[in-house]
Structures are given as C-alpha cells and as structure tokens.
C-alpha cells in the first residue's frame, strides 16, 4: 500500500501530457456523462411508469378516501364540502361472466355503450378501461349492487366550493392527496381530517360578497394591481370578511396565474402612508405633546454638518386652514410637515418601543397563518423618525395595520384575530394604550370622516370614524409619485366601535370621474363608503 502512496508522491506532481493519456482522460469525462445520462434515463422511465398506475392519479390513494369535514360560515352557509363520486372501471382480464357484464354495462350506461360495444371492450386486450368518469349516484348504485367481478368503482371524493372565488384565499383548497394547501383548509387541516362536524368560521358570506363585488368593481374602475378588504369585530377579533384580489378559483386552480395565490393582506408588505399618523398622534398624547406647530413651509431636517438631510413637504393638494396647527388638527388634515415635527419632538426610543408594543416589529403568528415580516428602518435617525411619522420608510402587511388600528380605537386593547366563531371574552387581549388616548383618537377619526378626507365614507344613521392614506411607492429605491397605495381604515359606530374595516388599493389609476387624481379620497374612500352602505343593514339588524 505504501508503494502506491509513494508512487503518487513521486509522480503526482507531473503533468500527464502524452497523447495517449490525454485521449484516455477525455474518455473518462465521456464515461462520466454516459453514467449520468443512464441515471437520467432510468429515473425518467421510473417516473413515467409510476404515472401509468392510474389508480394513484385518479385518487385511489387511501389518504384521499378519508372523509373531510365541511366548512361553514357563521350563519351555517356551506363554504367547502366533500362530494362522493366515482369512476366506473372495467378490467377485462378479471371478467368471468362476459354476457352479464356486457348487459349490465348497457343497462347502466345505455346511451354510451350498446351490448356489442361492451362485448368488444370486454374481449379487448386492454387491462384497464374507464367506462365512465364521475358517474352519477344511480349508476354507481347499480354497479355496486350487481357485484360482478371485473366491473369496479374507483371512488373519488371531490372537494367542492359552492362559493367559488368568493373565499379563495381564506378558505383555501385541497391538493391531490388530500392535504389542505391554503387558508382554513391548511390551518385547520387536522380538525377537518379528524372530525365529522362542520368547522364553523367567523366569516359571513353575505358580507364577504359585498366586499368582493365592490372591490372587483374598484379594481376595474381604477385599474388597480390588487385590492384588499378586511372587516374585523373590534371586541372579539373575529374576522367577518377578508378579500384579496386578484384571486383564483379553488376548483379550477390551473386557470389562474400562480401569482394570484398570494394572499395580499398577509403576504404583501407595503409602506402604508398616513394611517401611521394615528400611531404618531397616540405617541404624542402619551408623551404629553399637545401644542401647535408651524406647518406652512416645508420642514428641513439638517444633518450634523448643517446640510439638508431631508426636506419634508406635503402633497400639492394640501391646503392648511391656518399656518399653525395643533396635534389633533395635524392628523385631521393629514399634514406631513406637522407629523414629522411631532416625531422629532418625541423622546429618544419612543417610536421603536411603541411599534414593538403594537407588534409591528415581527411577523404575526396568527391562527390562520403567519404574516410576512415587516421591513424596519435600518437605524432610527432624524430622517427615519420623521418619515415613519407619516408611514414611509416602514413597511408592514395590511393585517398588521388592521390589528394595530383596531387596538387604537377599541379602548386600547390589542386583540389577536380569530377565524372561528366565538363570543366576547374568549380571545385574550393586551392593553397597549390608555382608554383616554383611544377616546381622543376616536374623536379625531370621527372628524376626519365628517369634515376632511373621509367624507365620502359617511353613511346616514351611523357615525363612522376613519383615516385615509395615500402612500407613494418606491420603484427601484426611488419614490415614484405616479404609483400610489391608497387605503382607508375605519371603525363604526365610532363612539363605541364594534367593527373595524380596512380597504387597500394597490396602484389605482386616475379616471375622468376622479379628475385624474389618485389619492385615497377618490378611490379607497368611496369604495369603503359603498361597502359600508351595503353591509350596515346586515350587521345591525
């Protein structure tokens, strides 16, 4: 053995350069490829042969035969249901009584096969023939009763979704093989497998359909990339409606592009814009800041060398009533310059602490899935503090915003949402702000929907509080003023909120009707108004 080692040490440093060794070395490379390709060919054929076993593909898998509980909404309306069906299969090699089988085939499927057709199939050399796919109950019963060898039923359990696209993301779908793959089908998979009783969700299909109709209209009207709508019970945390568009058909998933599977309210991360002024105002009140700010001119933030690090300005349509505004008025008129000054007056570390308190620092692990992780500023310098005040430079999911705003207006309790029908008090909450501050925020939000940007969401007979947001999106790191994200968050009845609503439109375009404007007041707010108008009779009857 040592001899070999010595040989390598002796000759190993030499190049092998003679003609014949070079030729033999290229043969080694070639043979490596031959072996690799032989493995490929073997593997391809293997997968192909696996596929020819039709019972596997058609759902003969034993796991697929386990029945699965239905899913219903809060009123007992069916959202997902298992429907039994079967394929009628002929195995000519196992047939004993040819005439009887042929007669039975003809009586069960008279329009498809005559007796002679059936006999020809029975006498053919094929081993496996589908006589009828997805046969009806009557046909299946006749076949099972006759119990003739060679004529079998391949049972299939189909998951049907009577509401089709209405609940695509939140109810989800079942993969071949019987695993829940999205939404409630995925997160309550073990319950659905083990129980016979239907799973009752907190969703309300009547309200969901109002959201669905209005949001699809809004998507078309404003040519938005995506639209989201959510309604949550402010006290119990029950999700009443949640819509994400574009969506997919849970029964024919291949018809829609895969990107439509993305559940935008939980997987989309956006800079949410002026909705963050609610949090900014809450921080101001907590730290006792309640004086007036001069807002008539853009506010310059200087760096340590005295140069302009950022120039905070308001959108061109902003018309302040007075040059000095109080903290409440800054939120009321959605003034960026004022919000930035408030944020800079806050004690060091207030913002990160506050956002941690309302769970905006990390992904939310909810009962129905995990949200995307928010994108935080890398550091909290003056520029970041000022921009975060009006919701730029920090990106969160719409779900984060809905839950945080809900905690601001419902008296200061952060409630984790649920998808199951529950009563008050079942879901535990945690206090994040004091009831007094929550009440002051509600007053401002009420005035927003009465006096300023939220006017179009005003509904007779009920007092609504809201806040609009128009964020400018970043494209390749630069702010693109033409690409906006508009949103409306509202709560009603505002004096003692029972429900919180969030509507988000991604990149809405201007229309002649909106005079080409793209701000939230022209698209998200009217959409919310229409939805509220339709759902209020359903919620408070």
């Amino acid at each position: 053995m040592f001899e070999v080692g010595k040989d390598i040490l002796k000759n190993g440093f030499k190049s092998v350069g003679t003609e014949s060794t070079s030729r033999s070395r290229i043969r080694i490379v070639y043979y490596i490829f031959v072996i690799t390709f032989a493995i490929f060919i073997f593997r391809t054929l293997w997968i192909g042969i696996e596929g020819t076993n039709r019972t596997r593909l058609a759902g003969g898998d034993s796991t697929w035969n386990i029945s699965r509980a239905d899913i219903v909404d809060r009123n007992g309306d069916i959202l997902a249901k298992n429907v039994m069906s079967g394929n009628i299969v002929l195995r000519p090699t196992q047939v004993k009584d040819r005439d009887a089988v042929a007669m039975l085939i003809h009586t069960v499927l008279p329009s498809e096969y005559t007796v002679s057709d059936a006999l020809r199939l029975i006498n053919s050399s094929r081993s496996f023939i589908y006589l009828k796919k997805l046969a009806n109950d009557n046909q299946l019963n006749q076949i099972t009763k006759a119990k003739l060898p060679g004529l079998n039923i391949e049972s299939i359990q189909n998951r049907v979704y009577p509401k089709q696209r209405l609940f695509s993301h939140i109810v989800g779908f079942v993969e071949q093989g019987g695993n829940g793959a999205d939404g409630a089908e995925k997160f309550f998979d073990s319950y659905l497998r083990e129980n016979k009783d239907p799973l009752q969700l907190s969703l309300d299909s009547r309200i969901q359909s109002v959201f669905y109709d209005q949001l699809s209209l809004a998507m078309q009207k404003y040519q938005a990339n995506s639209a989201m709508g959510m309604l949550i019970n402010s006290r119990t945390g029950e999700i009443i409606a949640i819509v994400s568009m574009p969506d997919y058909d849970p029964e024919n998933r291949n018809l829609d592009p895969t990107k439509n599977r993305m559940f935008m309210p939980m997987r989309g991360v956006f800079e949410m814009g002026s909705i963050f002024k609610i949090f900014n105002t809450a921080m101001a009140y907590e730290n006792g800041i309640d004086h007036e700010y001069y807002i008539a001119k853009p506010y310059k933030i200087l760096d340590k060398f005295g140069r302009t690090a950022a120039n905070i300005s308001d959108i061109s349509s902003f018309k302040p009533p007075r040059p000095n505004l109080s903290v409440a008025e800054i939120m009321l008129h959605s003034c960026n310059v004022g919000s930035a000054q408030i944020a800079l007056d806050l004690p060091e570390g207030t913002q990160p602490e506050f956002f941690k308190r309302i769970h905006m620092d990390d992904a939310l692990n909810l009962e129905f899935g995990r949200t995307e992780k928010p994108l935080w500023p890398a550091k909290w310098g003056p520029v970041e503090k000022a921009t975060v005040a009006f919701g730029h430079g920090i990106a969160v999911t719409p779900m984060h915003v809905l839950l945080a705003v809900n905690s601001m207006i419902n008296g200061g309790i952060y409630i984790y949402p649920t998808l199951q029908k529950r009563g008050i008090g079942v879901v535990q909450g945690e206090r994040v702000i004091s009831p007094e501050i929550s009440s002051r925020l509600r007053d401002i939000m009420f005035r927003i929907s009465e006096e300023t940007s939220g006017k179009q969401a005003k509904i007779p007979g009920i007092d609504i509080g809201g806040k609009t947001a128009t964020a400018e999106k970043r494209v390749n790191g630069k702010i693109d003023k033409k690409k906006n994200l508009t949103a409306f968050v509202g709560a009603f009845p505002i004096e003692a909120p029972q429900y919180t609503i969030l509507i988000v439109l991604d990149e809405p375009k201007g229309t002649p009707e909106t005079f080409g404007l793209r701000t939230a007041a022209w698209n998200a707010v009217p959409t919310a108004g229409k939805i509220l108008n339709d759902i209020l009779p359903l919620l408070f009857n």
């Binding site: 350069g17 060919i41 997968i47 192909g48």
Partner: protein
Amino acid sequence: MLKRTEESKLTSWYFEIDRRLLFFVISLVFIGMWAMVSAGSVAAERISQPWYFFILKALPFYGIGLVTLFVSSMLDKKWVIRISAANVLICLLLLLVTLVAPAAIKGSTRWVNLGVISVMPADIMKPGFIIITAWFLSKMKEKFGQDIFFNKDAWRVGLLSWWTYLAIIGPALLIILQHPDLGTFLLYFAVLSAMLFIAGLPIILIPIFIGMAGLVGVFAFFTMPHVHGRIMSMFSGGSYQIKQSIQSIQHGGLLGSGDDAFVKQSLPDAHTDFIFSAIAEDSGAILACALLCVFLYVINRLTTSAIRARDPFVFYAAGGAAALFGAQVSINIMSALHLFAPKGMTLPFISYGGSSFVAFCLLFGMILAIVREDKWK
C-alpha cells in the same frame, strides 16, 4: 444538387463537415421549436399573454442562431480565435457593466440591457471561454512542453503565461460569483477543471480542485439564504416547482398524454428551466429518453472528434465543448427529475432564451469549423 465531383466552396463544406453532428444539432433546434409551441404557449398563458407570445419572441433568435451556426461553421481557425477573443473581451466589459448598471430581471443583477434585448453576459461568454481556453492550453503546451502546471517558466510573468489567462478569466468568474450566480460559476469551474484534466492535470491537484468546488458550495450554503433554502428543500420533498415537474412527467406516463396535458399549465418556467418535464408530459417518458439519447450522442460526437483530432487546440476545444454541453444538460435535467437542488439553467437548443441559444449556435458552428479544418487541411 451537391455532387462530389463539383468544385465549389459549398460542396467542399458539405462533404467535409461533420454532418452527423450538424444533423443532430439542427434536429435539437427543431425539437426546441416544437417544444416552444407546446410548452411556450402554456407558459405565455400563465403570465396572461397570448399563446404565441414566446414563439413570436423566439422566432428572430431562431433565424439569427441558424445563420450564426452556418456562417461560423465556414470560418477558418484564425477567424474562430479572433471572434472568440472579441466575444470574451466584450463579455468581460458587459460583466463589469453588471456591477455598475444592472438591468434587474426577476430581482437578479445578472443582466445587461442593450436597448433592444437584455443579455446575460455570463451566458453568452461560453463559446469564447471554451475556444480561448483551448487555444491558450495548446499554445502553452507548444511553448513549455508537456508539463505546463508545475513549470517555473509557465508561471513567470509574460505575455503567454498562466498570469495572462488568470487576469482575464479570474475577474469574470469572480463577478459571476458575486452576482450571486452560483450555478453558472460552478458550471464554468467544472468545465475549466475538465479542460485542465484532459490537458494533463497532475493527479495530486484533482482532489484540490474538487475540494475548492466543494468549499465554494459549503460557503454558499451558509452565507446565501436562497442556496440554503434550495438545498434544504431538496431533502424535504422538493418545492412547488419540483412537485409540479415530477407530476408532469408522471401524468405523461410512458407514452405521453397528448392533448390531455394539463399539469404543465401549472408548471413554473415550463418554457425554460422545466421544459424537459413539459416535453415528457406531452410525448411520454420513452420519447423523453430518446431526447436524452440525442443529447448523449451529441456529446459522443464531440468527444470522438476530439479523440481523432491532430491539432491539440481542436482536441481541447471539442473536449471543452463536450464538457460544457454535457454539464449544462445534466444540471437542467437533474433539477427537473429532482435528483439535486433546483438550479435554473436552460436546456441547450431547447429552452427559450434568445441570447444563450445564439451563443450555443456560435459554439457549435466554430467547433464544426475547426474540426473540419483539422481533418481536411
């Protein structure tokens, strides 16, 4: 039309060229066109475009590629080397451009926008890389004799020395690794190792080369999150794409599902990285294996030409082309068959991918040309 008694450039080209290699390359191109109709149409519908979207986009490249193939197969050795040198230098410049002004496609910085089209410099550098490496190795052997690896003269700074080669290829490979495009980097590294191996790499260096590739892989596994994710997904039953890919082939069975083929509709990248699965679903595992045999035959023709070559330059070039072609096909098929972590790499001549198709046509045209010149002049 073409008679052996005639004396024209076209007849001598026709009778001297490796017609079997040419025939199989062109049949691969036609299989690719057919796959573009069947797989490209569903891929186009996935991104909500009309079904002919990719076919229309691919058509000009088929024209340019075939013309390149024929024209470059008529060149002589001098021009082959000149074109390859130009190819490498231009791609090196473009690689430098990717560092400062990348065109972002699908979030990666590997592309450069040339106005009309976007190209991936690492992709179109392949023909020049093979030819220049082969030319360099043959020149080195000519000057320093058989031992070029542990020869002190070969490592002395000079116009023809290892330093010149490393100064050109080293930065290119480092930029590719920095993109980060680990798959293409390892492809280049493997092809370079194979070429050095057939040029007589000392046995003691072989484990060192394998170790270096492994080290890069381990380093990437722990520092690049997407590499980590992909390798872990290999052990946990594969990602969505892989499952769809396997299901496509299963649904195709042995004989293909013909018009019933529907799994490929939900197969991401059915027209590029997973085109093999789409073909298998359409025409069945047996025909898919026939396609694999065509690939293997092309490798066989290239190695045979290399073994028969008199000029070492042709030997290294044909061997390098075989290694590149074989490695790229292997990586693509390995992803589609779930034999290794998925790595996006096109299937040569079959996948959609304008500039890389033209690059492979150029490579094969130049190999045909130098093999012919070596054999007949």
